[in-house]
Every structure is written in C-alpha cells, then in structure tokens.
Symmetry: C2
Subunit: 426 residues, 2 copies
C-alpha cells in the first residue's frame, strides 16, 4: 500500500486502491462473520473476575448493617452506611451526601429528570407545565442520555466537545442567559465516546456557572471514573469539591455505578449531590419504591472490603481491556494512518474509541460493516435525536469481542472506511 | 368485665369502665414500650427462611440462561426465560406475557402510571396534557398505591369495598361513563387491608368492563396471592383468564413479586399483561434502564426450582404468621367482642387486619397507642389523600412483632379503643 494521504493519490492510484479494497471487502463477506461491537459491554472474562462475589454472602452471615438495618427487609431507601462509605471513598464525596440505589445509574438519572418533569424541583414549576425545556448535550455523547431527555420532550442542543471538555463559552452563555436551559449531560472522565477527561479548569467553570434557571442541574455521569487504561491516571478535580469552592452546592447530580466493575445489570448505582437535592429526590423516589436491593449492596461491600479492593479489581479489568484498545489503535494507524482521511481518539480509559470518518460517510461505513457481518453502534447515535449533522462520527466499542475477533472487525472496519471514502470522493 | 354492648352500659358501669381503662392505660405507659406494627414487614424469622438462597449461586456455576443470555451482562430487559416460567406457573399466565423486573413491583406500577402520564398509552394523549385524570380507589386500600396516583396529580375517587370486592355497580358506572377515569387500584386476593378475596363474579365483571377511556387500565396488584393463612385456600379466577374470556386483552396490568416470599427489598417483581401492553411498557422501560438484575432472577430460580418449591416455602411463612393473626383475633374478641363498638376483618391470608373503630375515633386511638409506645399505621392511611371521612379505619399489621410483643400491643390497642370510644360518647 502506498503511504501517503488519499488527497495526494493519482487517479491510477485511487483506482488501484478501490479495486484492492473491493476485493478485500468481498473476501470478508465470504467469511460470513457475525461479530458485534455495538455496545460497551464487558467481555465474559471481565465478568468472570467478579464471580467470587457470588460466594461473598452466605446463609450463615449476619445481614444487619452497621446502623441496625436488616438488609433483608424494607427500609433504608437511600442505602446502607457501608455502601455509602465505599462509594464516598471512591468518589471523593461525604457518605452523608450519597444515595445508593439499585442496579442502574441510568435509572437514577431518569428519576432526576422525571421528578423535575412531573413535580418540579427547587420550587420551580414542573417541566411538563413549561412551554419548552432545554438540555445541553456535548457531542459526540451517549445515546442513552439523549434517550432520557428525548423521552420527556426536552429540546436538546448540541455543544461541541473540545480537548478538555465541552466548549465552556457556549455552555456558559446558554446556561446563564436562557432560563429554559435546565440541564447538561456530562461524562467528565473518559467521555462516551470521545474519551475526553475534563480539565480542572473545565470543572471549575462548571462549578462557577450562574444559571438563569434555579432548577438548572449538571448531570455529571461519572460512569468511567475507575476505568483507566494507563498506569498513572489523572486525578481530576471532583465536581463536588469544585462546587464547594464556588458555593454552588445544589448545582450538580453526580452518578456512578459498579455496572462495569462487577456485573453489568447486577451492580450498584449511586447518586452524590447536596443535602437539599438528596432530600427532594429521596422523597420522590420513596413514592416509586420502598427501597433498593440492600443485600446486593452488602454483597459488594463484603466482596471489595474497601476502596482499595475496588481499585485492585479495576487493575484486572485493565489487563483485559488494554490489549483490545491497543489492537484498535494499531490497526487504525496501520490501515488508515497514512491516508489522512479520518481521525480517532486515543483514550486513556473508558469503553470507547470515537472515530471521525470523512463527512457524509459514517452511515455508509456502518452499513458496509453490517453487510459483512460486523455490527457497530448506529451512525448518528452519538448525537441528539440520532442525527449527526456531518454524518461522520462512529463509536467503536472494543470491550466485548475477543482480541482476534476484534482485530478482524477492525480490519473490516478500515476497509469499509476506505471504500466509503473512495465512493464519496469518486 | 361486664359482657354486654357498650350501648347498654349504665352510667355507673361506664364510669367504672373508664376508670379501669384509664388505669390499664397508665400501667402500659409505665412499661415504656417501643413496639412498631405500622407496616406489613416480614419478621426476621420469615427472612431466615430464605437465607439458603444466598448460597444458591456460586462462583462455579454457569450464569448463562437457557436462551443463551449471560445473566451477568446487559441485555434481556424483560427478564430471563427461567424466571418468566416460574412466575407464569404461579400466576397462571403464559411466560410470553410476562415482564420480570427488579426488586420492586411498586416500581413497575409507578412505571405504568408514569408512562401514561408522560407519553400516553394506547394512542391516547399523555395524561399530563389532560385537564383531569381520575382513578378509582377501593377503600380501605393501600397507601402506597394512593401515593403513586397522588404524585402524578391524578384525582382519586373512593369506591367502597364490599364482601367480595369493590362495589362493581359503582365501578362500572364510573368506568363506562367517564372517559377521564383511567384506572383502578385492586388487590384482588387478601386485599390490603381488608383481606377481601374478589369473587369470580367480581373478576368477571372487571373483565367485562367497557371503559369510556381507551387507556383505562385495571392495576391488579396480586401482592398476596401466595400468602395464605388457611389450609385450603380459594383458587380465584385470574384476571388474565377472565379477560381472555371477555376478549378484553389489554384491560389489565397484573403485578406480583417475591418481596414477601424471599427478601423484602431483594426479591423479584413481575408484570403480566397483553402483548400490546408489554411492548408499550418495555419500550418505555428501556429508556429508564438497560435491564434489571438477572443474577437475582437466576438466584430465585435455582433456590426454588419450580412453583411447588415456592408453595412449600409459603407454607413455612404460614406457620410463622398464623399464630400472630390468631393472637390478634383472640385479643380483639376477648377485649372488644362483647362491647360491640367496633368490627374487624378475619383474613384468610395476606398481611393485615382491617379494624373499624367507632366513627371519629381512629386518629385518637392511633395517637393514644403512640403515646404509650406502640406505633400503628397512621389513621387515614387506608384512604386517598390520607383522609378517612369517618375517621374509623385502622390497619393492623401483625407480621413483624414477636407473638408476645404483639399480644402486648394488641392489649394496649384494645384499651385505647375503649378509651377513645368512652371519650367520644361521654
């Protein structure tokens, strides 16, 4: 293969590349692959790491939490003290400012939006009584976040992600001038999909916001704060610490979970926010449920013992994930590096690689991959309403497939990128 | 004590009874009791019955469900086939018409109301866009049901409970004439608190309703269908079977859970309804969560093996609960029977005894009990908005206290009933 940018290819070279790429694509089709890298799912060997947790609790053990609550019975809506202490240590938040729920942090995010929509928060009118409620959505972002706000009819406004977080000038301008802007979706550490880690400066600018709406909240989804791929990860400023500095205590809801620490679907989720917000949310959640699964909370505590236990466990995840992320980088560089037709993220943690194809090519690439047996996240999924105005961004999720499968998928992916790019510039 | 109705007491006899009752009350105050029979909580020894479930799954077992789904990962929003089969057997419903969720059936009920409120169901407008949405509430009923509809601003209309279910003439008239009547809360077996079991005739009349609103749904909370106190319980007609007979397939949501079978707060909940309703609800629940805890679903299946396993387990609950319910009846009869100033239910299952004090006395009785150290369910809790127009009904929850404590509490309760009644007719 010629090592130069596609833009410098002669007509003959392009023709040759197209021919060669078509043949490679046909060869892949003949393999009848059935591979899926659509979602950020842990691989079976990652889930195996937590199997001993199933033996953590036994019939002979006491199920009484340290505050006397029987984990087997009703009560203790906001979780047992032991699990609050564990999440508090990990998140750098006081245990008293934590609500620990069920298996899904998405459910807690949904609840926070639902409460504002149905009843209103901070003394403001319920959103369903408002003409138009708006959320800011840094893009590319997480489709399930956008799904929640879309469900409640919230108008979503895209904000570009930059190197160290969302474009804060744009964010600040919207938040401080428009009282109908009620929230923003953030994944501050290893953003989904871009892998961006918000700088302390970004976090401080968030914490210093003076929203036009009293019920504006930052939805700070710290889904990947424990999910490092490098040896010495950054220790970013927490939103809680920044908001204590700025005095904006009620400005944020911070979410975390063990879904990608222990079991996806059988983990524990947490919400950290101010006392006032916690009281408001607990009251509403107490209408919806009598309580969450405290036995599973206890199971996690007994299994991990403490925050260091969690961190050592995450190191085992890293050993499984690192070779996969390396393989993605290696193949992208090898197959597409010289052509200079696309860019992609080189994340230091999290679950995704964000790929920017030539404009107008993303849907075509995903469809070409699909036809050859590899399912990717749908093009557009990383934008509100599933519409990527440039039709360029594709989220790659390397965690689930085995390394060999992943390499195969990535080779096919690169072939599809080339094919789509050649077609588009034909 | 004189054995005759209070209404036939002479002035002297009343004075003597008041004196004696006051002394008995003072003696209780001196004991400084701290007892709670406010909620239908399982007793610790009931929870002990399910402790072996904590050993049901081990690190060595396969976590793959029979449809190939890994219970440890995302996916399978509506639950694994094994748990659907189990609930299907127990509920007399096809497994294909089941959604099995997390630890809380209340959460599923809340979701059903929330979806109709936020998005609308059956092609009808979202309830938040309607002027006034109404629900029928058979009374006395369950405060948490009323809490859900109150939360969403639904106007609640009380309907009297009769011997075999709600007054169906009133129900039918409302449902068939008023398109703003969108639902009714039902606990068809051992109703909370009355212990009423709906007759087949009642169930058939429900199934034959021709609602004025296309989005009217029966919220059929089968919370106690496995919770018998007698040897040969009735086998009531299921709402599913009745609706198949009548052809009204989409008319109902039926809820069940293992909260009072295994662990309150760490059980599994289920929703049975039509295919069409399931599709609508699954779609909306898929916005709120990626999935529920399938490991806990598997844990239940492995522990119980099958429906008979659940039924034998319930027999063990019965052995614990029966003496408590017997003690309540015995003391009520002994202390209040002859006086003819109150009536109470004699349930054959469920978790409650419904007590009807002389009109205007319920709040006073609960307050007298509280002052002597026994907490009861708040007076009024069994009515929408917490308002019992007669101030008469009190829900007694005998499950949690030990038998000796329960007897003590019930004796105090009877003293308080007498005191309040004597004060009221002074």
């Amino acid at each position: 293969m010629i090592k130069k940018p596609l833009s410098q290819y002669t007509v003959q070279e392009r023709t040759a590349l197209l021919q060669e790429t078509k043949e490679a694509y046909a060869a892949f089709q003949a393999k009848h692959l059935q591979l899926n890298m659509a979602r950020g799912k842990p691989a079976p060997e990652q889930l195996d790491l937590s199997m001993p947790m199933l033996n953590a609790l036994t019939a002979e053990m006491s199920m009484i939490a340290e505050n006397g609550v029987d984990c087997r019975n009703y009560e203790a809506l906001s979780g047992i003290p032991e699990i609050k202490a564990l999440f508090g240590d990990l998140m750098g938040a006081p245990a008293s400012k934590l609500f620990v729920g069920g298996n899904s942090s998405l459910e807690l995010m949904f609840a926070c939006v639902q409460i504002a929509f149905t009843k209103g928060i901070a003394g403001c009118p319920a959103w369903h009584t408002c003409d138009e409620v708006k959320f800011l959505c840094p893009v590319p972002g997480y489709d399930r976040h956008f799904g929640v706000t879309e469900y409640f009819g919230v108008k979503m406004i895209s904000v570009p992600m930059l190197e160290f977080g969302p474009d804060m000038d744009i964010v600040q301008n919207y938040v401080e001038s428009d009282p109908m802007v009620k929230g923003i979706w953030c994944v501050p550490v290893y953003s989904n999909p871009g892998g961006v880690v918000y700088s302390d400066e970004t976090v401080r600018r968030f914490a210093a916001l003076k929203p036009a709406a009293k019920d504006f909240r930052i939805f700070w989804d710290n889904a990947y704060f424990l999910h490092h791929l490098i040896d010495t990860p950054k220790q970013p400023l927490t939103i809680g610490a920044a908001c204590r500095e700025s005095g904006n205590l009620d400005l944020y809801y911070e979410f975390a979970s063990t879904s990608k620490v222990t079991f996806a679907g059988a983990g524990v989720s947490a919400l950290h926010t101010s006392e006032l917000n916690l009281a408001e949310i607990s009251k509403a959640l107490g209408i919806q449920t009598i309580g969450f699964d405290k036995i599973n909370q206890l199971r996690h505590v007994v299994f991990f013992k403490n925050a260091d236990g969690v961190r050592s466990h995450m190191e085992l995840h890293r050993q499984i994930l690192k070779p996969k992320f390396d393989a993605v980088q290696e193949i992208l560089e090898q197959e597409l590096g010289a052509l200079e037709l696309a860019t992609w993220s080189k994340p230091e943690g999290g679950y995704f690689v964000s790929f920017n194809a030539p404009k107008g090519c993303a849907k075509r690439i995903v469809s070409l991959c699909k036809e050859a047996g590899v399912t990717l996240t749908g093009a557009g999924a990383t934008f509100p309403y599933g519409i990527d105005p440039d039709d360029s961004n594709i989220r790659l999720a390397p965690s689930y497939p085995e390394v060999d499968e992943l390499k195969l998928s990535m080779k096919l992916f690169c072939i599809c990128v080339k094919l789509a790019a050649l077609e588009a510039t034909a």
